[in-house]
Subunit: 301 residues, 2 copies
């Protein structure tokens, strides 16, 4: 009944022999409580958040549904272990493409130990966290029946430069991503990033909330951006979704906005807008060029 | 002809015997080039920026006008020294109230020495820079003919807590700021922070630019917020102004937005909006209360 999630792109993997998450067939995601206190802090967050009437419904939909906690046999066979029971975000998606983007120009939180802060500062500087205000911490990209998924290893993802991030955000919505050195065509950009229900609009909705909310500070949280090409081709909605995950380091906002999250979110929004406007421009160019022969024929008559 | 500025609230002061800025009677501000390379970097910024056609005019007005550089006798008598010649922002203002707000949740810049970064990190954590995404680095507040200016010392300003910042932003637009423990009345909030040409609208205009511009990253820059009560009482415009100052650590944006500045700016905007909405609410309450006796009289008849 319980199995390792097929589409996990970051975090502890069951396959590493570590304590990892499990899923069932009914759309539940079981996340084991880590022993270092992070698990119980995440449980406490969900318990507070799920009954917090200050969070509007249109924002709540960006969070996985919380079903409580449950004792389960741990994935690594180490005995019974308490798990968070959450909505399995990718449940029902066939071959989903997924980006895990850790938001913020710093991932440490006030009150952490000096050692923890030092470790975070070092990693934040080494990745794009400091320069971009976010870093990609995992991804999988479905390229098609033949080539399957592009799912770079953890080390490769952690070494992404600013240009790599720019390129991944293009490849993510391209139909020719599997073809070696070809320039990503961004052909899915208008339907995935664009449109009234697309990724950009969802991110802008989140941004508007973050400009105002002073309830929570989401340290070291990720945005999961996902879609499946089948839904896009069929035209089913929502083709693309944004979800927040990983709440072990959420602290009270105490009347201050989460400027660290907001700054990083704005940076990601700008990157995605750039892909979208580039793809709009190139489709305009393509249209102009495809009209040329037509004009010529008319002149020829 | 040259004299020490009357209304400087932060930075090196001539009165410390240090090399400080000078002003003249024609609205010019002379800023000596510091020997540690910061001065020449700031000069280079102004030379690039002043001819940068990518900066729209409605944004350029947030920057002091740059008139070039000039050799002048240094304020501390140490001989001839190159000075930036800038617009004197407070020229023509009588008894201006001024806030110097250093924007960003980090003040260090990529490429700085380890020692410099360490010093910044320490100060950023000790002040409200990390928690708020900005810190007040100087202020003067004109209280009236009798009490003159409230201009707390550097040490006092550097020890401002989050609550102090909240309180200063209220006192800044209050008519009873000089009266000991009385709650700031925020009576100038609607005319200084609010309105179509007020501080909030100006900050929102800057914010819109920062959401899009990827040309410059403004590390360790300040926003100067200033007004004079005389202009407010007379109804002359602009009663209040926002200006960016201190450009020694501006770096190229390289296609990335300045998420550090933007996050801090959004945080300041939220604080100022809060003052404004509180003052609107209290004026509604005041109106309701002042109507009460009137209603009673009617009922009594």
């Amino acid at each position: 009944m319980f199995k390792a999630p097929e589409h996990q792109v970051a975090g502890h993997l069951v396959s590493d022999g570590k304590l990892g998450p499990l899923v069932d067939d009914s759309g539940h995601f079981y996340k084991p409580l880590q022993g270092d206190g992070r698990g119980s802090k995440e449980l406490a967050f969900f318990e507070t958040f799920s009954s917090d009437t200050r969070v509007p419904d249109h924002i709540r939909r960006f969070f996985p549904v919380f079903y409580g906690s449950q004792l389960l046999e741990a994935s690594n066979g180490s005995g019974l272990c308490l798990h968070l029971v959450l909505q399995d975000i990718v449940s029902g998606r066939i071959n989903p493409s997924i980006l895990d983007v850790k938001i913020g120009s710093r991932t440490w939180y006030p009150g952490a130990t000096d050692d923890y802060i030092k470790k975070c500062l070092e990693k934040d500087g080494r990745t794009t966290t400091v320069s971009l205000g976010f870093r990609i911490s995992g991804l999988q990209l479905y390229e098609g029946k033949e080539s399957g998924f592009w799912k770079p290893g953890r080390k490769e993802v952690q070494s992404f430069t600013v240009d790599d991030v720019r390129s991944v955000l293009r490849r993510f919505v391209s139909s020719n991503s599997s073809i070696g050195n070809e320039k990503p065509d961004c052909s899915f950009a208008p339907s995935i990033y664009g449109g009234s229900t697309g990724i950009l609009e969802q991110l802008l909705e989140l941004k508007a909330w973050f400009e105002d909310q002073t309830i929570y500070h989401f340290h070291s949280c990720s945005l999961l951006i996902l879609f499946d090409k089948e839904s896009v081709l069929k035209g089913s909605t929502p083709a693309a979704q944004v979800k927040l995950i990983d709440f072990a380091h959420v602290l009270e906002g105490k009347g201050v906005i989460d400027h660290n999250f907001l700054g990083g979110l704005c940076s990601l929004i700008k990157f995605i807008s750039d892909v979208l406007s580039d793809s709009n421009e190139s489709s305009i160019t393509a249209n102009v060029e495809s009209e040329k022969p037509h004009v010529c024929t008319c002149n020829g008559n």
